[in-house]
Assembly symmetry: C2
Homo-oligomer: 93 residues x 2
């Protein structure tokens, strides 16, 4: 068994997990139920993994965590944007 390839597969699937959440939020324009604290902690934890990967010169860990951080920052930005938009909507209607 090629365990390195298996680890790369595991990292890719875990990272890809955030894609359907971004797509769902983009479609519904609604991410109120998402917790900022979840996305924030995931960013912090993956930031540490990134430093770990750089220190260990491990390309898979570096790539997976850069992608994961980018997707979580995207979700935080989307949630913030949609929360402001729906506030305005509620005020005007």
């Amino acid at each position: 068994m090629n365990w390195q390839a298996f680890g790369i597969g595991a990292a890719a699937i875990t990272t890809a997990g955030f894609v359907p959440q971004i797509l769902r939020g983009y479609k519904t324009k609604h991410l109120k139920d998402l917790s900022y604290a979840m996305n924030g902690l995931l960013c912090l934890g993956m930031g540490m993994w990134l430093i770990y990967g750089i220190a260990r010169k491990d390309t898979v860990i570096i790539a997976a965590n850069i992608a994961g951080i980018a997707m979580n920052i995207t979700l935080i930005g989307m949630k913030y944007h949609y929360s402001r938009t729906s506030e305005k909507f509620e005020k005007n209607h």
Copy 2:
């Protein structure tokens, strides 16, 4: 720098990231904006990490992924339960 301890810290924070999401869902009884596909893919990816950890006899990877899978299954169950409850509510009101 003790990189093993740093890695344990990174794993602990990433795993802990799901706790505030569970608490938020429990408080609002509403997880409609969460994507089943996100939690499902995260479970699958962490299941692969768990197998990887068992194969490599790496206790940190094993523990972090068991906890992560448990939390994502909890979120899937909560979302399903709350979606049924709110459906009933909408039918009756």
